[in-house]
């Protein structure tokens, strides 16, 4: 890691140059409730003071909601071609927990088999991180995710009169050299940065005791009453999964044009909360109940991947709490578990 500082006056020109030279994706106000990460053509569209983003920016780019994986032509001979579309992009203003969400997906999509569709896009994505205001439902510090250790090229932290920059890659270093005048970070800069981080962490009001949940999960696992209560109002609508920065489940579909010649394989986001998730040909459904599906979701988020990768498949962004119309609250549920098992 390399540390530099950049003056506030330099920042605007730096962003302007990136917008003019790159395919630039950044936060833009969508409506009174949320911001959305979209292609930015002019700096006036960019609003880095965002709070809520319904759809995680990195997931949307690297693993789009629907994506053609393979195309084919069905004639005498069948021609099959992989479709891996990627172009160099700058993802600007993504916050630490969403970077950590992307880091999880990075790990996931290259484990066992390498998903080239994801990987190609990931390699070409220039990530410039910046902190954003946490929402009331955010519990990232409990999940060790309010700070990004890696997965970005540059991370800009706004101090009073300057930006503190963490440079994580040679690519980031080159971009910075080319587009901005910077200085090496000095002791005072580090001190101010540390102060800033202390204050920033205080903005997160929600805490969860994930360790308790992890330790007691197997104990609560067979308590059907508990899971029925948690899932009582669940709509099985999948909003929690679809808004999650680490959820990766998908369906693959084959389709063909009406000419019966041009076909493709497409994947689209799926959700483990939907009734058909465990349905196999012949009509047997391995997960027919919503409480069972919810339990499995919690297992996947808060246990499975801690055991596999040493990190949770949850970064504490709180999106699933915000989007749930049934008010299912993963933070409350994590915190309730110790009380449940001690009764």
């Amino acid at each position: 890691m390399l540390y530099k500082v950049m003056g506030r006056d330099v920042f605007k020109d730096f962003v302007k140059s990136l917008i003019s030279d790159y395919e630039f994706i950044g936060p833009k106000k969508k409506d009174k409730a949320v911001h959305d990460f979209v292609p930015i053509k002019d700096i006036s569209e960019l609003d880095i003071n965002y709070k809520r983003t319904t759809i995680p920016p990195a997931k949307k780019i690297l693993f789009p909601p629907d994506e053609k994986l393979v195309t084919y032509e069905v004639n005498e001979k069948i021609k099959v071609r992989p479709l891996i579309e990627s172009s160099e992009k700058v993802l600007f203003g993504i916050n630490a927990w969403d970077i950590n969400g992307m880091n999880f997906l990075d790990r996931f999509f290259v484990t066992d088999f390498i998903d080239e569709n994801y990987l190609e896009r990931r390699k070409k994505l220039i990530v410039i991180g910046m902190d954003s205001e946490p929402t009331e439902t955010n519990f990232s510090p409990s999940m060790d995710s309010e700070y990004a250790k890696d997965g970005f090229d540059l991370y800009l932290t706004e101090l009073k009169d300057r930006y503190f920059i963490r440079i994580n890659t040679a690519r980031g270093d080159e971009i910075l050299k080319k587009y901005a005048v910077t200085e090496d970070a000095l002791v005072k800069d580090f001190k101010d940065y540390n102060n800033y981080m202390d204050n920033y962490r205080k903005k997160f009001k929600l805490n969860v005791n994930i360790k308790d949940f992890y330790d007691n999960f197997e104990l609560i696992y067979d308590d059907d009453e508990f899971w029925k209560r948690v899932a009582k109002n669940c709509y099985s609508c999948g909003s929690c999964n679809l808004a999650c920065p680490t959820c990766f489940c998908f369906n693959v579909k084959d389709d063909i044009e009406l000419n019966l010649k041009d076909g493709n394989k497409t994947r689209e986001w799926d959700s483990c909360m939907l009734p058909e998730y465990g349905l196999v040909a012949g009509g047997l459904n391995f997960r027919p109940d919503k409480e069972n599906r919810l339990k499995q979701r919690y297992r996947c988020k808060l246990k499975t991947f801690f055991d596999k990768f040493g990190r949770y498949a949850c970064v504490g962004c709180g999106r699933c709490i915000e989007v749930c119309l049934a008010k299912i609250n993963i933070a409350d549920d994590i915190n309730s578990i110790k009380k449940e098992v001690s009764v």
Partner: protein
């Protein structure tokens, strides 16, 4: 392979479903080259009783309708109900809430006896329906998908998940965030979240999913200030023929 013959028929409704097929634009030519359309009430004057697939729009509201729909049922190998009226009775079913006689009187006054009008029912009350292209209007891409699936011999995939899924895939802000109520969480998707994407709440024109959480939906609507009557009328707009919902709500 010879092209399957298709008949497109209209019953009681606004005719908008047939219009949706005509509105296919780019895909209309592909469609008419993939199948042979032998009857299309709204578009062609030719008519033949020789067809394998029948697309039926509208609900059954007269004695004459019953005869017609049964005749189609005798001929067609596969019947697709197209649009809310055909699928679950649709808006027309609101008439049933008044009772047929009262409704006739309200509309036609002392001439009511001239009118052939019976209780509104979806077509599957009279003929077997193989597939349902839901919605008001139906999603034309879904109609194409059903026809394509029938040509290649696949069971058409009609979603059994709620509209929320499509809203999220489309990156919509939930309309509840703006204080607008929406039946999306219990309504079958497949419309590509048409209404919420344009900022209005879902009215459940595609009917409910197989296992809707009606209680949760009632709690939610009540929280947004709707009375029991409001909630019932919301559910009834497109689903009055499905009495189960009205009953559920009165509990």
């Amino acid at each position: 392979m010879s092209k399957p013959k298709v008949g497109i028929f209209g019953f009681t409704g606004c005719g908008g479903c047939q219009l949706e097929i005509l509105n296919l634009e780019d895909q209309l030519l592909d469609l008419v080259s993939a199948v042979e359309i032998v009857h299309f009430t709204e578009a062609i004057t030719e008519h033949s009783d020789n067809y394998e697939i029948a697309l039926i729009e509208g609900s059954v509201t007269t004695e004459h309708d019953i005869e017609r729909v049964k005749k189609i049922g005798d001929i067609a190998k596969i019947i697709v109900a197209v649009g809310s009226c055909a699928v679950n009775g649709g808006l027309n079913c609101l008439k049933n809430l008044y009772g047929v006689e009262r409704a006739k009187e309200l509309v036609y006054g002392d001439k009511k006896d001239w009118i052939d009008s019976i209780e509104v029912k979806p077509i599957d009350e009279y003929v077997r329906v193989d597939y349902y292209a839901r919605g008001c209007p139906p999603n034309r891409l879904e109609i194409v998908d059903i026809i394509r699936s029938l040509i290649i011999g696949r069971k058409p995939e009609i979603p059994n998940y709620p509209v929320c899924v499509e809203c999220k895939r489309n990156g919509n802000t939930c309309v509840y965030d703006f204080g607008i109520t929406c039946l999306g969480p219990v309504t079958r998707a497949g419309c590509n979240s048409r209404c919420p994407s344009s900022g209005t709440g879902c009215e459940s024109c595609r009917g409910l999913i197989d296992d809707p959480n009606i209680n949760a939906q009632k709690d939610l609507l009540a929280e947004y200030g709707l009375t029991v009557e409001d909630i019932i009328s919301q559910f009834n707009l497109y689903n009055a023929c499905k009495k189960v919902i009205a009953k559920e709500n009165k509990k």
